[in-house]
Amino acid sequence: MSAISREDVAHLAQLAHIEMSDAELEKMTGELGVIVESIASVSEAASADVPATSHPIALTNVFREDVVGTTLTAEEALMNAPDSVDTRFRVPAILDGE
């Protein structure tokens, strides 16, 4: 496995929508490097013929009856919103300066 660079961490932070200062990037790069090194052993544990398990107790086709259930009212859904208008969430510009 390749080591994690500071640029990698900056890119990951951007993907994860977490703004990071230079000092934070520096610290996170070091810590992630140690962690990733210690978990890299998983790739040698399992051979190609071992199936993957995504769910510990597999259930299939879990459906509910196709009837109207209980849902939050618009008022309940909006009661914790940082900003709302009428019956909608309000957010800043979605497109960057255009």
């Binding site: 977490i18 990071m20 510990p56």
Partner: protein, 515 residues
């Protein structure tokens, strides 16, 4: 100490039924205890929110029903009127839910978790919400954005995590019962280091609806208590199928109370107990190993057949867990973006776009450990690494399940120390994430395989509690209650009382609180 708070939940329930104590008296005694030892400078700090008015109102309602008698009184749940504390990862109407994060400061859930609906229906007064590592990420409760919880056995030490608040509340007699959640050991490891009982049920055995998701394929809600029998009562109450959780098992809750009662005879004749070779020895403190060996001897003397089992792939469990869990974390926590709920922080300068608001919100709202896991998960899931990391970790999960299958062919239950060490000092591992992660080495395999686990007090090492863990096959939670209650009985006979009787006396003086 007030005698009421020393009672176990089932003892208290019996006195409530007999009319010897009222529920209002019981709730008030616990609120007084919280006021005395929780808030001081060196207070236990198990609670993030105390739900005084509602708890007393529910207690008064139960008392009125009992006083009136008749069918309604007869129909009360056995635990009606017995107070309970709720881990602040589980959403509650009418009380704040923070997940111990700044991200959810002031957030009020518009709905109740299914386990909360069940607790309301059974009329257990809720004392409040307990502290945890932020979004349940940690093994010490030091990652709470609202300050750490202290271990009642030594106020300079950690109470375990993530559910340190629930475990400490129960251990310090602030509550007889609590709810926890266990993703990699967050019920069992705090139980171990505080000398209490905690159970991670079979995955799907208890609804997760309304537990703020950390890693959905691993998370499980479970009981926190001082005795195995109390856990069984709470587990039967919160368990069962829930259509609102698509991973919930559509099956009957096993007869856990009956199993605990059977175990309490102390007879282990015919029970095969498998000692997991890989979960002892190197890396486990000498005092932990000694208490573990004594527990094995006690079980053997009570008629158990002790066999050794090997789970060779457990050596990869921690690594696989630290790929699967952060991957799911990075996805589950994407919803905290300052749009629909929670904190919104605006960038200090530059254009005001939603992208930049999200970046600033998540930078300010999440603590270090949460950020570390989100970034690690984002890395594990990113193009080029997915197969090597996440894909391999999912295969390790299969290998761990196979190890368990082979072990359970030889034994009815498996046994190990719950945690490799006793409670460590506050601050001693906070800057070393890897060393912190090692606390969960013995508890993680159960989550990876979806099987149930229990921790029961195993004695003391240099004055600090050691936990003994039993594991059972999926859906066989009853076995844990049988053997857990048996070991509890055998060890309490040898100590001449409960382990918690040996805990230091806490008061307003020792915690710097208000008398």
């Amino acid at each position: 100490m007030n005698q009421i708070i020393q009672l176990s939940a089932t003892e208290l329930a019996a006195k409530l039924r007999a009319g010897e104590i009222t529920s209002v008296e019981a709730v008030q005694a616990h609120l007084d205890r919280i006021a005395e030892i929780d808030g001081g400078e060196r207070g236990v700090h198990a609670f993030l929110h105390v739900n005084t008015d509602e708890a007393l109102a529910v207690a008064a309602e139960v008392d009125a029903i009992r006083a009136a008698g008749g069918a309604e009184a007869e129909a009360l749940h056995p635990l009606a009127g017995v107070p309970i504390a709720i881990k602040d990862l589980i959403v509650t109407k009418g009380q704040p839910t923070t997940a111990a994060s700044k991200m959810l400061e002031g957030w009020m859930s518009p709905y109740d978790a299914t386990v909360i609906s069940k607790i309301r229906a059974a009329k257990l007064p809720m004392l409040g919400k307990t502290n945890l590592d932020e979004f349940a990420m940690g093994s010490s409760t030091e990652h709470s954005a609202y300050g750490p919880t202290r271990n009642p056995w030594d106020l300079d030490r950690i109470p375990g995590g993530s559910g340190g608040g629930s475990a400490a509340a129960v251990a310090s007699f602030e509550a007889p019962l609590a709810l926890g959640t266990d993703t990699g050991g967050s019920i069992r490891q705090p139980g171990a280091v505080t000398g209490t009982v905690g159970v991670k049920p079979t995955y799907g055995g208890v609804s997760r609806y309304g537990a703020i998701a950390m890693a959905s394929s691993l998370d499980q809600i479970g009981p926190v208590a001082r005795t195995v029998l109390d856990s069984a009562y709470l587990h039967e109450l919160i368990g069962g199928h829930d259509p609102a959780d698509s991973t919930s098992l559509n099956e009957q809750v096993p007869a856990l109370i009956a199993a605990a009662e059977q175990g309490a005879t102390g007879d282990m004749t015919g029970v095969r107990v498998g000692v997991i070779k890989e979960l002892q020895g190197e890396g486990y403190e000498a005092g932990v190993q000694a208490r573990f060996d004594e527990s094995l001897e006690a079980l053997r003397a009570a008629g158990a057949e002790i066999v050794e089992v090997s789970c060779p792939n457990f050596k990869y469990a921690l690594a696989a867990y630290y790929l699967i869990m952060p991957s799911e974390v990075s996805s589950n926590l994407a919803k905290f973006d300052g749009v629909r709920f929670g904190t919104r922080v605006l960038p200090e300068e530059g254009p005001l776009t939603i992208e930049r608001v999200m970046g600033a919100t998540r930078a300010a709202g999440f603590g270090e450990e949460v950020k570390r896991r989100i970034i690690l998960g984002t890395y594990a899931l990113s193009a080029g690494y997915y197969d090597a990391y996440y894909g391999s970790a999912q295969k390790v999960r299969t290998l761990i399940q196979r190890d368990f299958d082979a072990a359970f062919a030889l034994a009815d239950v498996l046994i190990s120390p719950t945690s490799p060490n006793v409670a460590f000092e506050l601050g001693s591992k906070i800057d070393d994430p890897l060393s912190m992660y090692l606390n969960d080495v013995a508890t993680i395999p159960a989550n990876m395989a979806g099987i149930p686990g229990i921790t029961v007090p195993g004695g003391l090492s240099e004055g600090l509690p050691v936990g003994i863990q039993f594991l059972a096959p999926a859906r066989e939670d009853a076995r844990l209650y049988r053997v857990g209650a048996a070991l509890e009985k055998l060890l309490e006979d040898s100590w001449g009382g409960r382990l918690l009787d040996q805990a230091p006396e806490l008061s307003a003086t020792t915690t710097g609180g208000v008398a």
